[in-house]
């Protein structure tokens, strides 16, 4: 008998018993849906992490060095980790081609600066921007041309302006001193919280990013170094030589230790936590799938014994043992595959819906599709093989009576 004829027969007998078939599929739908939900969310999370954290420099010959403080409190006091002397120090290590500061893809635009407000020193958050677009009380926004011309201008928050100049409106055109550099106030931004206290998380002043970097000379994160190593040199060896130099003579050797930094290790760590979580939930779902499989087996056995007469008729009309086995196998497989497909759709819908509340996208991929199909085929074959064999091995003489 042709295979598609067998499939059609199987499908028909499943549809004949809609309610029973659906109840049998239910366990598989739940199991597959939960596996797919967790795996697809996990994949979405990983993709997102890798996107965010991957280095701009993917050069094979680059390794990174960072600095670990013995006392974490120092990390907030010290501004610069790597000084020019440190860079010069490792530049001379044999095999090093270039030393530069590590450039992450996402540039942190926030800065903490010290302000003098009526004789009190306050550390406040400011933002470096290309241009501003927040609603202003008065004055103008920072524009891209301020950046191009390195204009020393600033847009300040309403509350800060009030503290510094009495009334916000009077601040326009006044000087704004930051670390001995004088900026001109060009705009007053409406305050969101109306306070200067700690709970105000919004930046209090906006500087043109190029101007700020020009005067304060802190272009990028300086806590991580990029070491580019000459091709042909042993990367690990050269890096450890550079580390040795730094730990001997580096500017900060007394308050911490220089170490190799691997940006991927963060991702790997996150990934492995997630993998463990996925494994755990999959194990729970696996139990549900196993029970669902036993349900399939049960239904197949019932189906076989209910249809003993039909099997006899088919055998008398020329069905081989193999035809009968194939028919019942196909029935079990179709059942689990249908369950798997519905479960996959359900899991994907759950994943996509939950991604609305999550900061990353969940989308179908080949892996999850393969997983769903694979699991359902496996369950179908494993749990319908025995009933199908039992059907095919029925003694024809007994069933013809």
């Amino acid at each position: 008998m042709k295979n598609y004829v067998i499939w059609k027969t199987a499908l028909k007998s499943i549809l004949k018993n809609k309610k029973r078939s659906f109840l049998t599929m239910f366990g598989i739908i739940i199991g597959i849906a939960s596996v797919i939900t967790i795996v697809s969310i996990g994949n979405g999370f990983k993709r997102d992490m890798i996107d965010k954290m991957s280095m701009t420099n993917t050069n094979e010959n680059v390794s990174n060095i960072t600095f670990n403080y013995y006392d974490v409190a120092n990390a907030f006091k010290e501004g610069e980790v790597f000084k020019k002397s440190d860079l010069d120090l490792i530049k001379n290590v044999k095999g090093i081609k270039k030393v530069a500061f590590y450039k992450p893809k996402i540039i942190l635009t926030e800065r903490q600066i010290e302000l003098n407000v009526r004789g009190k020193k306050l550390t406040k958050k400011v933002e470096r921007v290309e241009q501003t677009s927040a609603p202003l009380l008065s004055g103008r926004q920072i524009e891209p041309k301020d950046n191009e011309t390195l204009n020393k201008v600033v847009v300040v928050d309403e509350v800060l302006a009030q503290k510094l100049y009495g009334e916000p409106e009077k601040a326009i055109g006044k000087g704004f001193e930051v670390m001995n550099e004088l900026f001109t106030v060009v705009g007053i931004k409406a305050s969101e919280s109306g306070t200067l206290s700690m709970e105000n998380q919004a930046p209090l002043a906006y500087f043109p990013i190029k101007t700020y970097d020009h005067y304060f000379n802190k272009p990028d994160s300086q806590s991580i170094l990029d070491l580019e190593i000459d091709a042909g040199e042993d990367k690990a060896q050269v890096t450890s030589e550079a580390l040795k130099q730094l730990n001997f003579n580096g500017s900060m050797r007394n308050i911490g230790e220089y170490e190799v930094y691997n940006p991927k290790s963060d991702i790997d760590q996150m990934g492995s936590i997630l993998d463990n979580l996925t494994l755990f939930i999959s194990a729970v779902a696996g139990i549900s799938l196993f029970i669902a499989g036993v349900g399939v087996m049960n239904m197949m056995y019932i189906s076989v014994s209910e249809r003993t007469k039909e099997i006899g008729i088919r055998r008398a009309l020329g069905a081989t043992e193999k035809d009968i086995r194939k028919q019942f196998l196909a029935e079990g497989l179709t059942l689990t595959l249908l369950g798997g497909m519905i479960g996959y759709l359900l899991g994907m819908i759950l994943g996509v819906v939950s991604s609305i509340f999550l900061p990353f996208a969940v989308r179908p991929d080949l892996f999850t599709i393969g997983l769903a199909v694979g699991i359902s085929v496996l369950i179908g074959v494993v749990f319908s093989y025995m009933p199908a064999s039992a059907a095919s091995k029925k003694d024809l003489i007994d069933i013809m009576k």
Partner: protein, 226 residues
Amino acid sequence: MIKLEQINKYYALEEEKLHVLKNINFEIKEKEFVAVMGPSGSGKSTLINLIGFIDKKFEGTYLFEGKEITDFSDKELSAIRNQSVGFVFQNFSLIENNTVFENVELPLLYNGSAYTDTKKRVQEVLAKVGLADKGNKYPKQLSGGQQQRVAIARSIVNSPRFIIADEPTGALDSKTSEDIMQLFQDLNKQEGVTIILVTHNPEMVSYCDRLIRVKDGAIVEEELIK
């Protein structure tokens, strides 16, 4: 066409050995219409299963068209059942979930046909048994006589070498029985189909050419009718 030589068959019942067929010898020629009669438990069903390639555990020689049926594999036996023999049973044995058309189509599908090739042949045999318009009905929607006609259509759809009819009129009233027997006779006379008819009813024997009486597992009498 069918030749049985020294056929013996035993059933093992716990420690006893039951001798159900004793030294059976007979021959059925092509285009014959043979009746097999005998009381229940006489071994005629066993004999019929043996002839119909359903039972292959026996002693002796079964020659079918000169070939000995011995250690055939399941696949070979199934192919012979499919192509060489058609079964008609007392209880019709139609698959309830399938339509009349699908029931008749089944032997063709087991013979390897695709759905597209079966339509013409199925319609042809349905017309032959007088049910050309009942293809889309389910067996339950038909009367007993009509169901038996469907079974007959199914038995001849693959143009088998012979038909085994096991008490085909046992569940039918006398008027319908006559119609069914007439149909068998027409098939035999006009199409030249070989038919082996198992029956209890002496009236049915009049349609046949030859009668074989079985009693206690042995053939007690063979007679020609007319």
